[in-house]
């Protein structure tokens, strides 16, 4: 029964189209949006083991790119979407080439990504082109050619399409040569190098791919809420949300981020009803993250496919 939950998830995802409840559409949209963010992180970090704590940098680049392009240069946001994806990929390539060439791994890489996002936040706060701390307001012109939706269901449909693309990329990683080699790098860098896998190039490519996907999520955000500021775009909370979603559900899996997004939103909304104190969400995130690392290193998906655990059992049996 539990094996078929993705079918249930797809059905549930389609339900809001049949209803006119704004609440239901919003809930589904935000959950799918989190899943998209989680999948963006998951592509590099779940499959490649690149522990990024600063993925907001790609999200922010996408959001600012589309906002600046249309408010300053009058470029249609539909063109901004691929442009933002390219910028996200470029940022991933630059960050990856610099960090991996220097041999940064694990927590050192995590710190560098955190700093990278923070630098972008400060830049966005002080530069003219980003309008500093004021942020950028995108004028409201709801129409499909303008990438703005009068009906939330339109935006939701687009989130679902991009989520499907991101999941398609994850599915490709699971069955392709590139994905297999990326997982090998995650599992053991020395062994991977000995078998002819170029470490820096493989990890950089993964980060670029992940940056592209995450930047498209930034574009969606800007077009849905029509406002971007440095904290929304590059804030650490966004980075934490991405990695939480992927880790709760199961990093390195196709459906993990979807599962993680559903669970995280359930927890979040319940907690918000019970305790409405500012600063409570980050604390809750921290607690969840600790619990996941301690008790469910493979996420909820790891419960369904207990690969690591069965390995240990088989060792005991042998």
């Amino acid at each position: 029964m539990l094996r078929y939950w993705p079918i249930l998830a797809v059905v549930a995802a389609l339900l809001p189209f049949a209803s006119s409840s704004q609440f239901l559409v919003n809930l589904a949209m935000l959950t799918a949006f989190s899943a998209l963010l989680g999948q963006g992180w998951n592509i590099a970090c779940g499959f490649g083991g690149l522990t990024s704590f600063g993925h907001a940098v790609f999200f922010g680049i996408g959001a600012y790119a589309v906002a600046i392009m249309q408010t300053r240069f009058g470029i249609n946001p539909w063109l901004g979407l691929p442009a933002a994806a390219i910028l996200g990929a470029a940022a991933g390539a630059v960050l990856g080439a610099a960090a991996f060439r220097a041999g940064l791994r694990g927590s050192y890489f995590a710190l560098v990504t955190l700093a990278f996002a923070e630098v972008f936040r400060i830049l966005a706060n002080s530069l003219d082109i980003t309008k500093g701390g004021l942020g950028i307001l995108i004028p409201l012109h709801p129409s499909l050619p303008n990438f703005q939706f009068a009906d939330r269901r339109g935006a939701y449909a687009l989130v679902l399409v991009l989520l499907a693309v991101a999941m398609g990329i994850a599915a490709w990683l699971r069955r392709s040569r590139f994905g297999a080699r990326l997982v090998a790098v995650r599992e053991n860098e020395d062994a991977a190098a000995a078998l002819g896998i170029p470490l820096v190039r493989t990890k950089t490519q993964a980060l670029a791919l992940s940056g592209a996907v995450t930047a498209t999520a930034g574009v969606l955000y800007a077009q849905m809420f029509l406002y971007v500021d440095p904290n929304i775009a590059f804030g650490a909370e966004r980075s934490v949300e991405m990695l939480l979603v992927a880790m709760i559900g199961g990093a390195g899996t196709v459906w993990g981020p979807v599962l993680g997004a559903i669970v995280l939103h359930l927890i979040q909304d319940t907690a918000r009803m019970l305790i409405d104190t500012p600063g409570f969400a980050p604390m809750l995130y921290g607690a969840i993250l600790l619990a996941i690392i301690a008790f469910l290193p493979n996420g909820i998906a790891g419960l369904r496919l207990p690969r690591r655990r069965s390995a240990r059992e088989e060792v005991r049996r042998a």
């Binding site: 069955r175 392709s176 040569r177 297999a180 080699r181 997982v183 090998a184 599992e187 053991n188 020395d190 062994a191 991977a192 190098a193 000995a194 078998l195 002819g196 896998i197 170029p198 470490l199 690969r307 690591r308 069965s310 390995a311 240990r312 088989e314 060792v315 042998a318």
Partner: protein
């Protein structure tokens, strides 16, 4: 096939490897032996690109590969295994070997078939779909060799693939290595077990305290007083001659 010239490496004040030169002729099985801490694994790591040498050169198949990255060396056809086995623990045995097969095969189905074939030939057939973490020590050593072989190397560097195995497992792996060589792969191996070296290698080089002290057939080496001293301590050869 492999020409190593005056390779040296210093770790702080310790000269781990001093001016090591050796040749591995194509089609041969050559051994590098020596007591613990002699610098064998460091030498290997330098040859395969994992540690940058301070001086000296490595030529492989006519190409100077000194200071090359390990993956480029592997792509050229020289692949090492690890003394402390390094399985991709979260993957199955077949998936582990497939990572090696992906070096020459871009098609997934082809790499998969190739991996299963190599795994079966190395006696891992029944374990192919089990997690690599479930393998015994002997199984993990086989997996190291299988993964390296799946890259279709011209020269295989085996780092103590027999350490920790029982005598019957050693015999099996000796037969296996011979079979690999007969398949056209040149082999350079580091080994502790003299019995295995004598059974396998045409030429052996002895490393002690970072320097090569003897080279020759296993029989010549076993009779060399300098080698006996390196293994058993200063004056041992003389004492053995007196008592023996």
């Amino acid at each position: 096939m492999l020409e190593v010239r005056t390779l040296s490496k210093r770790f702080g004040g310790l000269r781990a490897v001093k001016d090591v030169s050796l040749d591995v002729p194509a089609g041969s099985i050559t051994a590098l032996i020596g007591p613990n801490g002699a610098g064998k694994t460091t030498t290997f790591a330098m040859i395969a690109g994992f540690i940058m040498p301070d001086s000296g050169s490595v030529r492989f198949a006519g190409t100077d590969v000194t200071r090359w990255r390990p993956d480029r060396i592997a792509a050229l056809g020289m692949v090492r295994t690890f003394q402390i086995t390094q399985p991709f623990a979260g993957l199955s045995v077949a998936e582990n070997i497939r990572v090696g097969a992906f070096l020459r095969h871009h098609d997934v189905a082809e790499a998969e078939a190739r991996a299963r074939d190599v795994g079966t030939r190395l006696g891992l057939g029944p374990m192919l779909d089990r997690p690599a973490a479930a393998l015994t020590v002997a199984g993990r050593k086989r997996l190291e060799v299988a993964r390296a072989l799946a890259t279709e190397p011209r020269l295989l560097l085996l780092d103590e693939v027999m350490a920790g195995l029982n005598p019957s497992e050693v015999n099996e792996i000796v037969a296996l290595i011979r079979q690999v060589r007969d398949g056209g792969v040149t082999i350079l191996l580091i080994e502790h077990i003299m019995q295995a070296v004598a059974a396998l290698a045409e030429t052996a080089h002895v490393l002690a305290e970072g320097a090569l002290i003897a080279s020759g057939t296993p029989r010549q080496i076993a009779a060399d007083p300098a080698v006996v001293e390196a293994y058993l301590g200063h004056g041992a050869a003389e004492r053995m001659a007196r008592h023996g």
